[in-house]
């Protein structure tokens, strides 16, 4: 059988060669960035190079970049820093990393296309301040982009704090923290094509954040613990290498997949909304997402269903539920998707569809 076709970039992007090189370079450095001696300084140089790379890619100052162990920690740190004294408003389709960090938050419903209506946010903010608004720039399951600039303007007008979970958007669509005016913005290294184990929180200039982990005062007292230099170096290199212009090359592949599946009776969740160029959330009416993911895997095509938990089981998706849908599979093209990705995917999908369309069983396989 041919090598599997990996179409699960929103779970993890394949490692970029630039990131791989940076990781290897960092692995060979013995020093701790906090050490006084030359080895420490060499390690520190690599750390600060990564900080500069992240800062310049996402429009912030190096001093306002806090490295974390990943996107989940970056989101948790932001909410930990901004929540005191504020009521929290979340989009209904936020990632579990945000939902779990703000268990008492108010959830704002989204439109059927998955976007948040600015009027809904405006009305919610009229009901009481001070408030913290947490919104994802792009949804991990559907790729749907909120009208973030407009929503950020509403937050500013009300004086509400804004945290943006940019884990999926970063590197795939243009993103500028300063222009957006968010208070904090979360990134994840492995979603950019870096290694797993590092993320970053970008801060509005001058914003002071209390650490979740105080430790030895690293990251200017905002995140304790010796920095995982290889992961951070890889994150920096991946951030520098991840160009939205390059990601845009994936849109025609994605569109070809969707055109084929739509013609065969599938639906695209959030299909009418602005979306990431690489993500498609496909619903085959009557077919459980779990069955589809397994069937495609057995055919050598690796996609995921909305909400895979750590055990690997497929549960119901709160994102699709918020959009009044269910049972989607997520096809997310990686930065290095082969040119024949659409042909290979549609061939496997088509074979699966024929098998799932056996007569007399229609309706018996509705997703839970």
């Amino acid at each position: 059988m041919a090598a599997p076709l990996y179409l699960d970039a929103n779970a993890t992007e394949p490692l970029r060669p630039e990131a791989r090189q940076a990781v290897l370079q960092a692995l060979d450095l013995p020093g701790n960035p906090s050490s006084v001696h030359g080895a420490g300084r060499a390690a520190r140089r690599l750390l600060e190079r990564a900080r500069d790379q992240v800062a310049s890619r996402f429009g912030t100052a190096p001093a306002d970049v806090v490295f974390t162990a990943g996107g989940t920690e970056a989101n948790a740190l932001a909410i930990h820093a901004l929540a005191p004294g504020r009521r929290i408003l979340l989009g209904a389709t936020e990632h579990p990393a945000v939902l779990a960090a703000a268990p008492d938050a108010t959830h704002l419903p989204v439109r059927p296309d998955g976007t948040l209506d600015p009027a809904v946010l405006d009305a919610a903010l009229r009901q009481g301040l001070p408030a913290l608004v947490c919104l994802m720039a792009a949804n991990n399951e559907t790729g749907v982009l909120h009208p973030l600039e407009e929503l950020a303007a509403i937050c500013r007008r009300h004086g509400a704090a804004l945290h943006v979970d940019a884990v999926q958007a970063a590197g795939r669509v243009p993103l500028d923290a300063a222009a957006l005016g968010a208070d904090t913005l979360a990134l994840s290294g492995h979603k950019l094509g870096g290694p797993k184990g590092a993320g970053a929180l970008l801060l509005r200039p001058g914003l002071a954040v209390a650490p979740l982990i105080a430790g030895g005062g690293q990251e200017r007292g905002r995140r304790g613990g010796t920095e995982p230099l290889p992961a951070i170096a890889g994150l920096g290199a991946a951030a520098a290498a991840a160009h939205p212009a390059a990601a845009a090359r994936l849109a025609p592949l994605r569109d070809a997949i969707e055109a084929f599946c739509l013609a065969q009776g599938a639906l695209v969740a959030g299909g009418g909304a602005p979306r990431l160029p690489n993500t498609s959330s496909l619903i085959l009416p009557g077919a459980a997402a779990e069955t589809q993911v397994i069937a495609l895997d057995l055919a050598g095509v690796q996609v995921s269903a909305g909400a895979a938990c750590s055990s690997g089981k497929v549960g119901a998706s709160h994102v699709l539920a918020a959009m009044g849908l269910q049972g989607a599979i997520r096809v997310s093209l990686p930065w290095d998707a082969p040119a024949d990705s659409a042909e290979r995917f549609t061939a496997a999908w088509s074979a699966m569809r024929s098998r799932l369309s056996r007569p007399a069983l229609a309706g018996a396989r509705l997703a839970p």
Partner: protein, 369 residues
């Protein structure tokens, strides 16, 4: 061929997967997540807890086969756990393993297997599937101690055609463990599963009380003449034939549960000799042969742990009921299965009906129990 193997994480289904891999089949492993194992995490020896999923995954890794965890929590709750509690609330003794086999396992997994392009579903059940001119037949396992054919009676003929039970010919469990050890499976020495997988040890009554509060309401314990002998803390704690937990004390003859009167929340007790019945009625009947048009001399099993006993069975197709005349009177607990055998072969079976129904039926036939 491509075969889906239901892997529980125990030694039996692990050996099934390993044997099929050894035979050169393309094996796909699937493990059902049936309930929140966090709630039952302390439990040892019952199937499908968190550790079992982990074990199944490890075995699949060792075998080099794809493996998937299937979330069936809501399906299992509706089809098995709710039915379990409802059965107790009706004064019956449920048999959840049959319900699980009937729904989550053979109905759903056969469907999934077909969806995945598999040509068969294999499980670790101890039963034999014998190809015959009229399709596949279900037989008792070679090892009478391990035989699970009783729990498979509700498998439809179509499902049985699609299923494989590679352990049916194993002489005993030691042989299965030996295969596991030969193949280097870490689960070779894992303890057998016991009890009911979703019930924390020994306290199913709390689960029943939560789902069906009426089964936990106190009531009277009466004798056959209706005399009140004591009180009980819910009919959900009792099973026909049970002798313990009645709290009647006294020095008289030892008493047993003879019947459960759910509408009046009464437990009817009597001496051991008064319990056995000569007749029984079963509904929800599944035939694995052409339904008989005349009474058959067969053997029946009325509970999992007993040998088949001689009986005559008559099938009332119009009412969908199976009438059983036992050669030797036996305790009949409604909700348990009555499985019909011809020697080693399973002919069919049904769920035993409440004694009241059986009684009126016997009256209408003019025969006294």
């Amino acid at each position: 061929m491509r075969i889906l193997v239901a892997m529980s994480g125990g030694v039996d289904s692990s050996v099934v997967a390993a044997l099929l891999v050894e035979q050169g089949h393309e094996v796909v492993g699937a493990t059902l997540q049936l309930y929140d194992h966090g709630a039952a995490i302390q439990k040892k020896g019952a199937c499908c807890a968190g550790q079992d999923i982990h074990d199944a995954r490890r075995v699949a890794e060792v075998l080099g086969i794809p493996h998937y965890v299937l979330d069936r929590e809501s399906r299992f709750r509706e089809a098995v756990i709710d039915d379990f509690a409802a059965s107790y609330a009706r004064g019956e003794t449920p048999i959840p393993c049959v319900r699980c086999n009937q729904t989550v396992k053979f109905q759903d997994l056969v469907e999934l297997a077909r969806d995945l392009g598999c040509e068969a579903l294999a499980t670790g059940h101890y039963a034999r599937r014998v190809e015959g001119p009229g399709g596949a037949a279900l037989h008792r396992a070679a090892d009478p101690v391990r035989d699970q054919s009783y729990f498979l009676f509700a498998t439809t003929r179509e499902q049985l055609d699609f299923c494989r039970f590679p352990l049916g010919d194993m002489p005993d469990k030691a042989a299965v463990r030996a295969v596991a050890a030969r193949l280097g499976l870490a689960v070779a020495a894992k303890p057998d599963s016991q009890d009911i997988c979703f019930v924390p040890e020994g306290s199913y009554d709390r689960l029943v009380a939560r789902l069906r509060p009426e089964a936990a309401e106190p009531g009277e314990i009466v004798d056959g003449q209706g005399r009140v002998l004591g009180t009980h803390q819910g009919i959900g704690r009792y099973t026909v034939g049970q002798g313990r937990g009645l709290g009647l004390g006294g020095g008289g003859e030892r008493l047993f549960v003879a019947a459960i009167d759910a509408p009046r929340r009464r437990i009817v007790v009597g001496p051991r000799a008064a319990l056995p019945q000569a007749r029984a009625v079963a509904g929800e009947v599944n035939w694995l042969v052409a339904p008989p048009t005349a009474p058959l001399s067969v053997q029946v099993k009325l509970r999992g742990r007993e040998a088949p006993r001689e009986a005559r069975v008559a099938w009332d197709a119009a009412a969908g009921l199976m009438h059983v005349a036992l050669a030797e009177p036996n305790i009949v607990a409604a909700g348990q299965a009555c499985v019909v055998y011809d020697g080693d072969r399973v002919l069919g079976g049904g769920f035993l009906r409440a004694p009241a129904l059986a009684q009126s039926d016997i009256d209408s036939h003019g025969a006294a129990a």
